[in-house]
């Protein structure tokens, strides 16, 4: 499909159209200098340019807290699946986060041949509007091959000057694009910027992995006993920020919550983190990863060794969130590179 041009006002009218039939999650300003995805009430709330949000768009598909099902305890126990989720539109999803949704789809719907029904129900009614971006000092998307991802988006926007170049990638995307009115071809200048975006993006990235994702499993395995884990753990709080904000992390805890009358309740899941002390502890007292270095190593191994082998690619999309938001300023790429260097 030939790309077309949209003005900022056009994009807002696309959003308004999406809001007629779906809930829309879009990046908004948060605090003094942060951004967060939020369910918007007005297209004007959405921002069109942002470095990264605190939580990734994953929150719409795998919410931080979600009822797996609701139940009634009395007079007779009964369980009921949660109400069917509303259709949603994710607006402003960067290429790395698009790639992450692809990875989550695999983990939640295909891995082990088992499909998570709650995730699938939300995912099945999701429309995605992607948004091109330029990297900041935390991004390393080219190192993990996600910088130019389009897959997963229904409509994809590239900001060029005051305008956007829009590509409809699915029928849903076509329909959204049509809601902005008569199609308009981008100017020659806009088209030129759009065509050179990929090179420009790559050239601006400053963080780089010193190995290919495919080489990492063996490189890391060889450094299982490396002192890097010990050294990293010495300043890691085990605060779980890195995993909460990661678009490809999907571990969760489950607990029953009951209302005060004790008659009804819900089995609820909530993001968990392999960095927490209790993550691998069992009743009776044994903790299989009770030592902080073991937990630290687990995070890198899970993403770059185990899931990397199983999925066939690093389970990381280079969004830089874990590093940007780490409360102890621990760098994901720095740790990996120190391993690569040690093995050279």
């Amino acid at each position: 499909m030939a790309p077309s041009a949209l003005s900022a006002a056009d994009v807002r009218s696309v959003l308004a159209r999406a809001m007629e039939s779906t809930a829309v999650l879009a990046p908004v300003r948060r605090g003094r200098s942060s951004f967060a995805f939020q369910w918007i009430a007005d297209p004007a709330e959405a921002v069109f340019s942002y470095p990264r949000t605190i939580l990734p768009p994953k929150q719409a598909l795998l919410p931080p807290r979600e009822d797996l099902f609701v139940f009634q305890r009395a007079p007779e126990p009964a369980v009921r699946p949660p109400a069917a989720p509303d259709p949603i539109t994710l607006f402003g999803v960067h290429p790395c986060d698009l790639a992450a949704i692809g990875q989550l789809d695999w983990a939640m719907q295909e891995r082990h041949g088992i499909c998570d029904p709650n995730y699938a129900a939300r995912r099945a009614h999701t429309t995605i509007i992607g948004l091109e971006c330029l990297p900041d000092e935390y991004c390393f998307c080219p190192s993990v091959g996600t910088a130019h991802t389009r897959a997963g988006a229904d409509l994809f926007l590239t900001p060029v000057g005051e305008e956007f170049v829009a590509e409809a990638l699915t029928e849903k995307g076509e329909a959204l694009l049509a809601s902005a009115g008569e199609k308009r071809a981008p100017s020659a200048e806009a088209r030129d910027t759009w065509e050179h975006w990929a090179e420009d993006k790559e050239s601006r990235v400053s963080r780089r992995l010193k190995a290919q994702p495919k080489e990492l499993p063996d490189l890391l395995e060889a450094e299982y006993e490396s002192e890097v884990w010990e050294a990293t753990a010495a300043r890691c709080y085990s605060c779980g920020t890195c995993t909460s904000v990661c678009p490809t992390c999907f571990c969760f805890d489950v607990e029953d919550v009951v209302e005060v009358g004790l008659a009804s309740g819900a089995r609820r899941r909530q993001y968990d983190s392999c960095q927490f002390l209790e993550f691998a502890s069992v009743a009776g007292g044994h903790n299989f990863r009770g030592e902080r270095p073991d937990r630290v190593r687990h995070r890198w191994f899970r993403k770059f060794v185990h899931l990397n082998r199983e999925y066939g690619d690093a389970f990381c999309v280079g969004c830089g969130r874990c590093t940007k938001f780490c409360t102890a300023d621990i760098g994901l790429v720095e740790v990996l590179n120190s391993i690569v260097e040690a093995s050279e």
Binding site: R30, G31, R32, S33, S34, A36, F37, Q38, T53, I54, L55, P64, R65, R73, A234, R235, C236, Y237, S238, C239, G240, T241, S244, V245, V257, V258, E259, V260, G261, L262, Q270, Y271, S273, F276, L277, E278, R292, F325, T327, A328, D329
Partner: protein
């Protein structure tokens, strides 16, 4: 279901802010009151009774003369719940333990200070066995209701050991470290839903330290952010996070897990 459990509230040295939080719960409190019978609650009613099953005890122990009273409560209660950080860890006034007591009394009360009894500030667990801990200064009302539900179902309640950062991030609050402030969130036990950072304030550590705080990291990282040792210590001392009393209480709370399972059957509703 068995008879309604009889509930009593007591307080020692504290500001009673935690009981106020319970009183301020509104609708859910009324619902809870359908399931329990409150027999003693000085802050809320005039009747009182010494026949109760569950005691919520607020405040820390500061005078030897408090000890027999607390022991009597313990003997009567099938379940004793420490309500609020004063009760669970000693609270902000543990810092008094670092001062000369006579000096302090003179400073606060002038010449008449000498007549007051004031000893070492201790959490309840330093004197009696505590079955459940509700941290917070003040407590989080939702957590109080969760604990009440646990007790009514006969479940043990383990306060989460996840740090405040977890809840802060789940709510997508902007990190105050980015604004150059000290935040104790990474080493502080969560459960408050990061209420302070939601308003742009930092976490002062009112719920005490997590089970495995990395204090070495706190020192190293905060120093890199340009803070001096005394800045950091000052922050940790607001809730006396470094005090032996708080450390001991934290350890007791960890070891005592499951203690409640022994005595909670009367309220099993199934």
């Amino acid at each position: 279901m068995a008879e309604k459990p009889r509930i009593a509230f007591f307080d020692f040295a504290c500001c009673e802010g935690c009981q106020l939080t319970v009183l301020g719960l509104g609708e859910p409190l009324l619902k809870l009151l359908e399931r329990v019978e409150v027999v003693t609650w000085r802050e809320a009613m005039s009747e009182r009774s010494d026949d109760f099953d569950i005691a919520f005890v607020e405040g820390s122990i500061t005078r030897d003369s408090d000890i027999p009273r607390l022991r009597r409560i313990r003997e009567q209660a099938k379940v004793l719940v420490a309500l609020g950080t004063c009760a669970t860890l000693g609270g902000p006034h543990v810092s008094a333990n670092n001062c000369d007591r006579g000096e302090l009394l003179r400073l606060v009360y002038g010449g008449e200070g000498a007549q007051f009894e004031a000893g070492e500030v201790r959490p309840l667990s330093a004197v009696v066995q505590v079955d459940a801990f509700i941290h917070g200064c003040p407590i989080n009302g939702d957590e109080f209701l969760t604990v009440a539900n646990h007790l009514l179902l006969g479940k043990a309640y383990h306060p989460p050991s996840r740090p405040v950062c977890h809840e802060c991030k789940l709510n997508q609050y902007e990190c105050v470290l980015d604004r150059g402030q000290i935040c104790l969130g990474p080493v502080t036990r969560g459960g408050c839903d990061a209420i302070c950072t939601s308003r742009g304030s930092q976490c002062f550590g009112c719920r005490g330290l997590v089970d495995d705080p990395n204090l070495n990291a706190a020192r190293e990282v905060l120093a890199e952010h340009g803070y001096t040792v005394s800045d950091i210590i000052g922050m940790f001392d607001i809730y006396s996070l470094r005090s032996p009393a708080a450390a001991e209480a934290r350890e007791t709370a960890r070891q005592d897990r499951g203690a409640i399972e022994k005595g909670a059957e009367p309220w099993r509703s199934r």
